[in-house]
Amino acid sequence: MNDVAVTTLLIVALFALLGSGVWIGLTLAGVAWIGMQLFSSRPAGDAMAITVWGSSSSWTLTALPLFIWMGEILFRTKLSESMFRGLAPWVNGLPGRLLHTNVIGCTIFAAVSGSSAATCATIGKMTLPELGKRGYPEEITIGSLAGAGTLGLLIPPSIIMIVYGVSADVSIARLFVAGIFPGILLASLFSGYLMVWALLNPGKVPRRDGTMTFGQKLHESRHLIPVVLLIAAVLGSIYSGVATATEAAAVGVVGSLLLSAAQRSLGWQTFRDSLMGATRLYCMIALILAGAAFLTLAMGYIGLPRHLAEYVASLGLSPFMLMVALAIFYIILGCFLDGISMVVLTMGVILPTVQAAGIDLIWFGIFIVIVVEMAQITPPVGFNLFVLQGMTGKEITWIARVTMPFFFLMCVMALLLWFVPQIATWLPGKM
């Protein structure tokens, strides 16, 4: 059977199972199962169990449940409310007002966490209820959160950069540094879009509550102290060498428990609710991760991503057209696979082509991170979409639709990166 037929059959199976309401994690496992039984000579079951176990018990993932727990604790404190009081006077003058808290929150938290799902879940726990209470429309709050959550990958530390750095044999430290400017730039693009949106939809943004003098604004900023302390503790633990980037999540949990205790909102009830809430949200993601791990294994056996990558490599394109082709290739792949799998499954084929085209590998790393960010928000398999469906109960298609503008902003970012490569390469060049 040729690749086109295999692909068609698997995609049809995926959409049929998903569309008929089969749970997402099970659907991915089911598609993988069909793929392996039909198109590979390997027995599927044992391979599935080994892979699922390996991915669900891997140390590198431990930061995810802990950050989710941290979000659940913060959500039950007065921390999110006070963060809003502290930020409000500063963003109230901008079109879009408090909507910018999503972007600012995710940008700051991205410096703490290496994953996009954790960033989305933790910040969302704080901003979604507060923005909802204040009457901001759901489509823009959820859309901007899904988009901005992906900054967790671009702003260091970043799990995907580590994976790419090891595959491509480039310095991880340099990759991290290279991500800083593009991260801030992308955050500014998001904020810029929010302003434009607010100017075009003047009726939809709630009114500001009075003007303040600079002194009053500073005084209101005292409410930011707890959240700043928390972030400083987590970041400080990483950069002082107390904890590794993975371990820092535990510092975050302890820090938020302490804050919660200091605000007298920590009781048995709160503790239990946060723990059970985190366990369920993590469990929901874990089932999907398990299905995704199996699907990745099946793809490895069947070789679809590899064949597709070989095809792109064989086209003999000019560097620019090669990047466009790769962007399209990864966007399509990103609809069905998670970012790390995409990188691991294709780098062996893609890297020699990219090197032959004379493209800087640090630059390409940032480019890859941006396309992987896009994969987080494209349906049907997009982890930020899943996290937000779990948190808001909204339909995934609706979330994907309201997130669409942010997907296009990332495309703009990829183009900017092509025409001004220094955005990524200047800072690491100074090292």
């Binding site: 390997r42 027995p43 750095g165 090891v166 991290f176 002082s240 993975t246 490895g300």
Partner: protein
Amino acid sequence: QTKWDLPAAYPASNFHTVNLQQFANDVDKATGGKLKIQVHANASLFKAPEIKRAVQQGQAQIGEILLVNYQNEWQLFGADGLPFLADSYDQAMKLYKAQKPFLDKKLGEQGMMLLYAVAWPPQGIYSKKQINSAADMKGLKWRAYSPATARIAELVGAQPVTVQAAELSQAMATGVVDSYMSSGSTGYDTKTYEQLKNWYDTQAWLPKNAVLVNRAAFNALDKPTQDALLKAGAEAETRGWAASRAENDRTIGLLKQNGMNIIAPSPQLKADMKKVGDVMLKEWLEKAGPDGKALVDAYQK
């Protein structure tokens, strides 16, 4: 036409993987395309700790493992991870020859066969500060990534730190780790020279990567294909050991170019580390039983 999957844990550019790919091409050529081996580098199919089991159960017909990784399961898998037992390429080859009958027997019992094995370049000590004796190692934040490296830390009074390979670079930058043992090749690949500036060329041990074949899958091949596979494996072994030496010279040169001090260990440090090695060999012999003793005797003969 038969298709085999070969999971491997190291990136496509690593010399072991390059050798594997060459081996796969040779098999393809020698069998006239009858046996096609797809190399899945960079842990893209199975992750390092899963590969042995995948081959054992037939999820992959062939796979590459780091033997010392499996020391917990059976001590003799870790014979080439004993510090200062075999401390040069020639000694490592000698140890391999002594170890091979035991490996063949054990892997045979597990439904597998050893096709070939290639040593990594010799292991040295990367350190932020100068080390002239074991006393200088006291209090080092020492990355312990295997039972053996954890035990060395204990014996010299260093603080063993568990850091995953993926986080090593950042851990060194922030000072979570200030020393670890590895080859020049790994140190170059992980860009250790960006953080730590001293490498003590202790040649402590030369761990091996082994390529295992599922016995049932092998038996299912026809005789000419089996022969072609074995022949290509033997060639890959010879080629691999030579490539390992070349890689050692190349990466040490590259480390130097990148500002790493390549230091021959002082006589004191050598003597101290030899003592550590003796203690560990004694402990290992206790755990490894009569087979272990037979292996060491065969090697030292």
